[in-house]
């Protein structure tokens, strides 16, 4: 295995069990992430993006969820086989996460400082005063002005954008090798979105972290990522370098997604939408899960399509010949 691959996910399967049905939230996801690169994972709500990211750190609550198969190789170790205390040492220190909603991902009863200190005290063994110094430093790094005073504030005294900055500061405190950002800007308004994305981009280069950026907004991944994985119904249906995915999408679902981005240049009377609804993951159709909504259905679609390599870095799971 090439040494510059930092994370390799192979055939990851995470199922949720409830009331006699099985929801295959993530069903056979595989991808690799090179050191220093940014991978975007895009897809609709419920396509398994977040579950994939939570599964990497084994944060799926059991019950009802369970990672039933696959490997997540990080630094030559399969994270799925580590003991609970070994994986805990990786969480936050070597792989950090930023969550979707900054309004709820900070503990309302603890000061910002106490929450920032918790990580470095835990992972780096810093003393309380060292950790405080580090926390102020991190807050300054993410652009919180007057950090030495604001560190003693509570989360509700921060705006959404500032809280997300705090979350980023927290995630990057231990200089993680991998940062998983799960829809980091979904809950923020557009101008703040841009600031946060620039911040992640800048810090990624400064600290040298690899990033997995999960989003449903194609506009975000376009400017941020090196590769994109498109997820549908718990599977990666297309994987390609960012530019190639935008210029020559292969899978009908990707094409549909790209078409549904409104174009401000043309005066569209009606926005394009992919017909139908995302499938119920506990009752997936036979064969290709996208076939009921696909405009190019063929007889073969009754069978699950194999993953086809289109060129060196471009894969697609579709029967279509291009």
């Amino acid at each position: 295995m090439s040494t510059n691959i930092i994370l390799s996910v192979r055939n990851l399967q995470t199922y949720f069990y409830g009331d006699g049905s099985v929801v295959k939230a993530v069903d056979g996801v595989s991808f690799e992430l090179k050191k220093g690169e940014t991978l975007g994972i895009v897809g609709e709500s419920g396509s398994g993006k977040s579950v994939t990211s939570l599964s990497i750190l084994r944060l799926i609550a059991y019950p009802p969820g369970k990672i039933i198969g696959g490997e997540v190789v990080f630094d030559n170790k399969d994270l799925m086989k580590l003991s609970e205390s070994e994986i805990r040492r990786i969480r936050g220190k070597r792989i950090a996460m930023i969550f979707q909603d900054p309004m709820t991902s900070l503990n309302p009863f603890m000061t910002i400082g106490a929450q920032l200190k918790e990580i470095t005290e835990l992972h780096e063994g810093l003393s309380s005063s060292q950790a405080r110094k580090k926390a102020i430093e991190m807050l300054e790094l993410v652009g919180i002005s007057d950090a030495s005073r604001r560190i003693d504030d509570y989360p509700h005294q921060f705006s959404g954008g500032m809280r997300q900055r705090v979350m980023i500061a927290m995630a990057l405190s231990c200089k993680p090798e991998l940062l998983i950002a799960d829809e980091p800007t979904t809950a923020l308004d557009v101008t703040i979105q841009a600031q946060i994305l620039e911040l992640i981009k800048g810090l990624k280069e400064k600290i040298g972290t690899s990033v997995i950026l999960i989003t449903h907004d194609l506009g975000i991944v376009a400017g941020m990522t090196d590769h994109i994985a498109v997820m549908y119904a718990g599977k990666i249906v297309e994987y390609a370098p960012t530019e190639e995915l935008f210029s020559t999408p292969h899978h009908p679902y990707t094409k549909g997604l790209l078409k549904s981005v409104p174009d401000p240049m043309t005066d569209q009377k009606q926005l394009f939408q992919i017909p139908g609804l995302p499938p119920d993951l506990s009752r997936l159709p036979k064969g290709c899960p996208f076939s009921p909504r696909c405009s190019n259905v063929k007889a073969e679609c009754q069978e699950f399509p194999p993953i086809k390599q289109i060129n060196a870095n471009h894969y697609s799971a579709c029967w279509l010949e291009n």
Binding site: N107, L122, I144, M170, L199
Partner: protein
């Protein structure tokens, strides 16, 4: 590059720090009835702690020549059938009653919060098992349980405190469990786990503090109920043993002589009623102060 990193958030006005607790305190201060309760409670605690030291009488000093005297300058609250000073006895009784309230509540707080938090946080079979145990204990008659436990252990007064606490944590456990169930799925708990915080730390640092609002309210309401239970048990002869007094035993003694020597009932009864009222007002005030719905005003 660094230009982009330094997109600073403008801090337009200085923010005055106010935590959730400070907010609640501000609202509590506006509630006159609750503040009156706080003041009265503080006075009662102070007076019953230090008052007996200032008196020339002791609570068990019998003077049969001067039994059942009405209030006078010598004995402000009068004397009882054995000629003991009722003022001193009421204050000493207050110590016991307040201690029963506080210790029993503290015991029920510690057991209930820990039990409920563990049950709620782990969920699944553990939760099921732990809550069925609570249900079973719930189904036993409270008084029966207390009497059995009191008969089983020595009848020391501290045992009474612990037994009262030991049977009143059930509701607390249920309240905390319910709170934890709603809190454990919030993102900041997931964020704490994603950072590698250990489970006990998550429960005690991140989960429990967030359940405390309703718990504190319930706690202030548990104190009077423990005091009432003690009074009731003492009334049945199971609680505080003479010559030591609590408000409960004094009311019990006073009831027998209510027609002839009403002061023997009135003073301890009045003090107890005032304390219970104050605690209830404070509990109501705290509930309002900690309720996020009330923040709109």
């Amino acid at each position: 590059m660094s230009q982009q990193v330094n997109t600073r958030v403008e801090d337009t006005s200085p923010v005055v720090g106010s935590s959730l607790w400070q907010d609640a305190w501000q609202r509590l201060k506006k509630n006159k009835l609750a503040m009156l309760g706080v003041v009265i409670l503080l006075i009662i605690i102070l007076v019953s702690t230090f008052g007996p030291l200032l008196s020339s009488y002791s609570y068990d000093q019998i003077n049969l020549d001067r039994n059942s005297e009405p209030p006078s300058w010598e004995h402000w609250f009068g004397t009882d059938q054995l000629g003991r000073d009722i003022l001193v006895r009421t204050l000493v009784g207050g110590r016991i009653s307040l201690m029963v309230g506080i210790i029993a509540t503290a015991v029920s707080f510690v057991i209930g919060v820990t039990y409920g938090a563990i049950s709620g946080y782990f969920g699944g079979y553990i939760d099921e098992l732990m809550m069925r145990i609570v249900d079973i204990i719930y189904s036993l008659p409270y008084l029966f349980l207390v009497i059995v436990l009191l008969a089983f252990f020595t009848k020391s007064i501290f045992m009474l405190f612990f037994i009262l606490g030991g049977v009143s944590w059930l509701t607390m456990a249920r309240i905390v469990r319910g709170q934890v169930l709603s809190i454990k799925n919030q993102e900041f708990i997931e964020a704490a786990r994603a950072v590698g915080v250990e489970t006990p730390m998550i429960i005690f640092r991140h989960v429990i503090p967030n359940t405390l609002g309703p718990v504190i309210v319930y706690t202030t309401l548990t104190i009077p109920s423990a005091m009432l239970s003690e009074a009731f048990l003492s009334f049945l002869g199971l609680g505080v043993q003479p010559p030591l007094a609590s408000w409960g035993t004094m009311v019990n003694d006073g009831v027998e002589a209510i027609a002839v020597y009403p002061w023997q009932l009135i003073f301890p009864g009045l003090l107890m009623a005032v304390t219970l009222f104050s605690l209830n007002f404070l509990g109501d005030g705290l509930r309002d102060a900690l309720d996020p719905q009330m923040r709109k005003d």
